[in-house]
Symmetry: C2
Subunit: 144 residues, 2 copies
DNA sequence: GTCCTACTTCAAGTCGACTTGAGGTCAAGA
DNA sequence: TCTTGACCTCAAGTCGACTTGAAGTAGGAC
């Protein structure tokens, strides 16, 4: 029995146990059973959690991730849909990355530019324009 | 009087009027006055809104953006702090971009890879590892 | 002069992703 | 055996960024 205690998983994955319970409730992970009350996990859950974390940093919601992780459709039609979705997500990510790159350049320029107000700097305004031009109004993230 | 009505601003900026009121309440934008009850805005507010949108897509909170837009400290010490902050933010963005790039590559690979389960693919696992290795546990975004 | 409509305020609601708190349980060590 | 403390459940709270709803008001078309 190589199963891991919830505390162990929490520690190794770097998330609080409450998050693991929450993920379980959402169907993102599953425990193999209990020892007494305590959840036990297959070590593979760590990779799954890494995958979840990865998806989160990519900007996917837990529901989206759940859908990616658990193909819920017809057994044989699914893999293609899955691959299709992954490709789509990759494209989205690509767009996002390009936006952020422009933004980064804008900030860097603004940090170096001597103009009193950044808005007075033509370079900055040009960058600003190209950063916002193609942005397809999606609810922005927003960190801690 | 070239001022814009709130509806005009909302339309041109592509945000609901309620958002403009909210931003005003938060001190992110200001109206030049009222016509009757209705807020009027200087056309410059559009650039400011673009800047705000830009900051949002970069993952900054409204409070952070407010701080960037309105230097609140000593008149002469501020510009440097401002530039310093912008440079820091640019660096953060850069890290984030690199993470996302790895992620995008992982997704693309997974989409093309013939392995039954992505976890069985060594390439994917390697990518996964490098994607999550350096990730400094920050609360992830999460779209609509 | 009246009416319509788009605005106004303010309080409250929503959404996602968790966290927190109260009250309960049980495996393991003294 | 008893205690301890880390886990358990379930409900409720939090946070940021808005949105929604009720009730009120004024500019402009008729």
């Amino acid at each position: 029995m190589t199963d891991l205690d919830i505390a162990e998983v929490a520690h190794r994955a770097g998330v609080p146990a409450s998050t693991l319970r929450y993920y379980e409730e959402k169907g993102l992970i599953a425990s193999t059973g209990r020892r007494g009350l305590r959840r036990q996990y297959d070590p593979g859950v760590l990779e799954r959690l890494a995958l979840i974390a990865m998806g989160r940093t990519a900007g996917f919601s837990l529901d989206e991730i759940a859908r990616m992780l658990t193909p819920d459709g017809q057994p044989d039609a699914q893999p293609d849909l899955d691959r299709q979705m992954l490709a789509t997500k990759a494209d989205e990510l690509d767009r996002r990355i390009r936006e952020l790159a422009v933004l980064r350049d804008s900030l860097r320029h603004a940090a170096a530019c001597p103009a009193a107000s950044h808005m007075e700097c033509p370079t900055f305004r040009r960058l600003l324009k190209s950063a916002t031009a193609a942005t397809p109004r999606r609810r922005a993230p927003g960190p801690p």
